[in-house]
């Protein structure tokens, strides 16, 4: 046999110096492009095997599989048997239009080292614990990461772990690029910056890039241990024509009020520069996901009973492991209160750092984007929730206060990265707690009271007003108050229920006081619809479509304000009640109640849910 010849080596060497030719560009628009835009449904918060808290829960889904799942392919889920066969399966009944895998940046390298024999650090104590007792490693490794620290096996300055993060980060990019099919399915390269403050106060933010130009390595909490440092690094890594980025905070409901700070560490108030840096990148907030709803809480600045929705009754997640630390939630853990605070900061600084559009997503740690049905088959969160054992769970697959999460909806001309990313940037977006509601919301000064009867409502909305996410233009002479038009259509799919009502929520700054109010604008809150909790059959009538033109009766042109719409379905059984019913639990008959299903009959069990959509706000500045 010949020794390797010079020419064979030559081929390898020569090519190593060349960049791969870029994929051919497409400039033509999609055949179904709609200049008046349509809603695209997706999930922008998805963890796969590369997230350490997912892999320690036996998740094996790779990014490419997560994208295939989003397009409708079936998937096998943990737990796995001795031969590596999955013991649970899932499949979407409707494909998503877009998705982004957002694994934790913090432990990407650690994950790779602990899973790759031969890499230095593979035999460290931490990695041995990771392989043997994943649950213990989950706490240990995340505790270190949440202090912006690295394990010893990462070497000087954490270099080894940073180097080891390259392979997973490249696989994440490759999966996103290969799954992107313009006009049919869009992906974004992204990651989660998993910052914390104090004892487990969540500062987590998802970072999404518009295209193929992304940083060589994701800036994690370790390198950028505060949000302002993250923004500065992102702006430095990602600027110019090729690269753009948005940052989407999530779970302020577990942030102890620290996710949206109005003061620096030293107690001084934030200045206009910091407010601008935030406003530049943080265009949206994830208002709802597996770990609860962050819109608002009844009693914190409002008496809005619909705020009693998917609540986690704590200030931060540490309370889940140490119940003695549990304290009642604070106003600043909720988006509505933070949006109001933004008005006050705008008055003081001339820039609103909290001008957030609203989306929802799942935060799945099983790699199952868009699996949002309130169903007895909800497989659980797969991360910070209840660990899965050797066999599929016989009781509830997760903590009672977790839920299947929601969807992000983007109003865009066509299903491409450029079109969807532009929608994120201008906040023409809304969130749903799962169903595919179609919600339009425009604000303007000249809308006719009969606009809902017009065939060209949408054209007029754009021509004479601004869509959700926008800011009202200056009032024309003689205009007394802005008018809003909101239209909601029920989810047209088989699992959709009729709508019950549509509301408009207003927050405003009256002098120095933050105020809020909720108006019923369409539908019927007293329609009497409910759900039979013993069979989960929904009962009573509702609406297929609701539309209203609403004029703010209390408008004061000197006061800053925001307005958003909330569309609410008739009640249905929550996932947990579906499961309890499917397992034959009847709380009045103890014989039907096994130990694993005890939660079905606990006092904390909220049995029904009114699914909903939250539009992004429209702002008014004097």
């Amino acid at each position: 046999m010949q020794r390797p010849t010079g020419s064979r080596r030559l081929a390898w060497l020569g090519a190593a110096l060349l960049a791969v030719a870029p994929a051919s560009a497409r400039s033509d628009s999609c055949p179904d492009r709609d200049p008046l835009r349509r809603p695209f449904f997706g999930d922008l918060h998805v963890h796969t095997v590369y997230s350490l808290d997912a892999s320690t829960q036996q998740t094996r889904t790779r990014p490419a599989e997560a994208y295939r799942f989003a397009r409708g392919a079936p998937i096998g889920l943990q737990p796995f048997d001795a031969e590596g066969r999955p013991l649970r399966h899932a499949q979407l009944d409707r494909a998503l239009d877009f998705a982004a895998v957002t694994d934790h940046a913090e432990l990407l390298g650690e994950w790779n080292i602990c899973n790759t024999p031969g890499l230095p650090g593979h035999d460290s104590l931490v990695c041995r614990v990771y392989r043997r007792w994943p649950r213990a490693a989950f706490f240990w490794m995340n505790a270190v990461a949440s202090h912006a620290d690295r394990h010893g096996f990462c070497g000087e300055d954490g270099r080894l772990c940073r180097e080891a993060a390259r392979a997973p980060w490249q696989d994440i990019q490759r999966a996103a690029h290969q799954a992107y099919e313009p006009c049919r399915f869009t992906t974004f390269v992204g990651y989660e910056w998993t910052g914390a403050s104090g004892l487990g106060n969540n500062l987590h933010r998802n970072v999404l890039f518009n295209g193929a130009a992304v940083p060589e390595l994701p800036a994690s909490f370790v390198e950028t241990p505060s949000p302002p440092e993250l923004w500065a690094r992102l702006r430095q890594q990602c600027s110019g024509e090729d690269c753009d980025v948005v940052v989407i905070p999530h779970n302020p409901n577990l942030g102890g009020g620290l996710m949206f700070r109005t003061q620096r560490e030293d107690g001084s108030p934030i200045d206009a520069g910091e407010a601008r840096a935030r406003a530049d990148l943080e265009r949206l907030v994830e208002v709802m996901q597996h770990k609860g709803d962050s819109e608002c809480k009844t009693g914190l600045g409002n008496q809005d009973e619909l705020c009693g929705f998917e609540k986690l009754e704590m200030q931060n997640f540490a309370a889940r492991y140490a119940p003695l630390l549990a304290k009642p939630p604070l106003p600043h853990q909720f988006v509505r209160n933070v949006l109001e605070e933004g008005l006050a900061l705008d008055a003081r600084l001339g820039v609103n750092p909290f001008q957030f559009g609203l989306i929802a997503s799942t935060d799945t740690h099983l790699g199952t984007p868009g699996l949002v049905a309130e169903s007895a088959d909800y497989p659980g969160h797969g991360g910070a929730g209840t660990p899965v054992g050797d066999a599929p769970p016989r009781g509830l697959p997760d903590a009672l206060d977790f839920n299947p999460g929601g969807l992000a909806v983007l109003w865009a001309e066509e299903n491409t990265r450029a079109s969807l990313f532009a929608a994120l940037k201008r906040r023409e977006a809304y969130g749903t707690s799962g169903p595919r509601l179609n919600v339009r919301f425009f604000g303007g000064w000249s809308f006719d009271a009969g606009l809902c009867e017009a065939d060209d409502l949408v054209e007029i909305g754009y021509r004479e007003g601004v869509p959700m996410g926008g800011t009202l233009p200056r009032p024309p002479r003689g205009a007394a108050a802005p008018r809003f038009v909101v239209s909601a259509l029920r989810d047209p799919g088989a699992s959709g229920l009729p709508l019950q009502r549509v509301q408009i929520v207003k927050g405003w700054l009256e002098g120095e006081a933050l105020r809020e109010a909720v108006w019923e604008v369409a539908g019927d809150p007293g329609n009497g619809a409910d759900v039979d909790l013993s069979s989960c059959e929904p009962r009573g009538a509702g609406f297929d479509a609701l539309c209203a033109v609403w004029r703010d009766p209390d408008f004061d042109p000197a006061e800053r304000a925001f307005y958003y719409a909330r569309a609410v379905e008739n009640p249905r059984c929550r996932w947990s009640q579906q499961l309890c019913v499917a397992r034959g639990v009847r709380c009045e008959d103890p014989a039907t109640l096994s130990e694993e299903l005890a939660a079905c009959c606990s006092e904390q069990h909220v049995r029904s849910i009114q699914e909903r959509a939250w539009s992004s706000p429209i702002w008014y500045r004097p």
């Binding site: 046999m1 020794r3 390797p4 010079g6 020419s7 064979r8 080596r9 030559l10 081929a11 390898w12 060497l13 020569g14 090519a15 190593a16 110096l17 060349l18 960049a19 791969v20 030719a21 870029p22 994929a23 051919s24 497409r26 055949p31 179904d32 492009r33 709609d34 349509r38 449904f41 001795a82 409707r94 494909a95 024999p117 031969g118 890499l119 230095p120 392989r131 043997r132 290969q178 099919e181 595919r436 179609n438 339009r440 009867e453 017009a454 065939d455 409502l457 949408v458 239209s487 259509l489 029920r490 989810d491 047209p492 799919g493 088989a494 959709g496 609406f543 297929d544 479509a545 539309c547």
Partner: protein, 314 residues
């Protein structure tokens, strides 16, 4: 002419330059031993690692695969060394310098001298980071070499044929719909829809004039070319199925949607079709690249395997 031809030209030029360098360098490279021994201790270590990963006793096939993986890695490492990369790679140099300093070398010693000492001590052969770096670099280079010239259209055509079923575009329709609202008409819905249909048909109302005749709905009256799935996403699965079956060029209905009843005029109906090459080129190129990289690595490793005799100590 497609872009990929230019990299091919670059590749040839750079290759020629490198060939000269390579010929000069390879004088003095050791001939590699033609036998690779796998010691008993190594076999045991590999098996222990495997057991830890699986959490059970590995099967014979799993043990063989793990051993083959180790052998292949050694072969790639030797090959990278034969290319002289253990001397030229900057990451390797940094690592060796760090190791020398760790071993207590004089801090003010010149890096060149420290490196010479490291090579004399054989640190470049025993360090696992050096090995992984060189193996990884060679793997990437083999893959990149295999795809540098870009695919020929004929190769993409073959892939397109293989993937035809998955790539097939669904049938599309472009239609105008006129809506009758269930919310508004309740019990009288069917009657109302029938009256509307009568009017549309008897007056031969052209679709572009029908917009104002129905109830308002914040969806386009004129829906763009849409697949069944796209129509279902807007108006529900029943409507989508019926609209795909409607005859073009006339009023059909009433079609039930999730919101009420509709009369539909299909302007255009495109049957399912196989996409043109240009439409799926990026996707096929990605597939081609993945496949070629994998094949190139497999055949490179196979060639290296043929050159050595692996002796597994009993």
């Amino acid at each position: 002419m497609r872009d990929s031809r230019r990299p091919l030209l670059h590749f040839l030029l750079i290759g020629a330059a490198l060939f000269a360098v390579q010929s000069a360098l390879s004088v003095g490279v050791d001939r590699q031993p033609r036998v690779l021994r796998v010691s008993v201790a190594r076999q045991r270590a590999l098996e222990d690692e495997l057991r830890r990963q699986l959490g059970r006793q590995p099967t014979a096939a799993e043990r063989a695969a793990s051993l083959q993986g180790w052998v292949d890695e050694q072969l790639l490492f030797r090959e990278a060394r034969a290319l002289g990369w253990h001397r030229s790679d900057p990451v390797v140099q940094l690592r060796l310098l760090r190791n020398m300093r760790f071993l207590g070398a004089q801090p003010d010693e010149a890096p060149e001298r420290l490196l010479e000492q490291a090579y004399a001590l054989g640190l470049d052969r025993s360090d696992v980071v050096v090995q992984r770096r060189l193996v990884e670099r060679l793997r990437l280079a083999i893959g990149a070499g295999a795809v540098a010239a870009g695919p020929a259209d004929s190769e993409l055509e073959a892939l397109r044929a293989r993937e035809a079923e998955r790539l097939r575009r669904p049938p599309l329709v472009r239609l105008t719909q006129v809506f009758v609202s269930r919310d508004r008409h309740g019990e009288a819905l069917a009657e109302r829809a029938a009256a509307l249909g009568e009017r549309l048909v008897e007056d031969a109302v052209p679709p572009e004039r029908a917009a104002g005749l129905g109830d308002p709905l914040p969806l386009p009256a004129q829906l763009p070319l849409s697949s069944q799935a796209a129509l279902a996403a807007r108006l529900g699965p029943d409507f989508a199925r019926a609209a795909l079956a409607a005859e073009p060029g006339r009023w059909s209905g009433p079609l039930a949607s999730s919101y009420g009843l509709h009369w539909v005029w299909v302007q255009r109906r495109l049957p399912a079709r196989d996409p043109e090459l240009e439409e799926v080129r990026p996707e096929l190129e990605a597939l081609w690249r993945e496949q070629r990289e994998r094949e190139a690595l497999t055949s490179a490793v196979a060639a290296l395997r043929r050159e050595v005799e692996v002796r597994i100590e009993p």
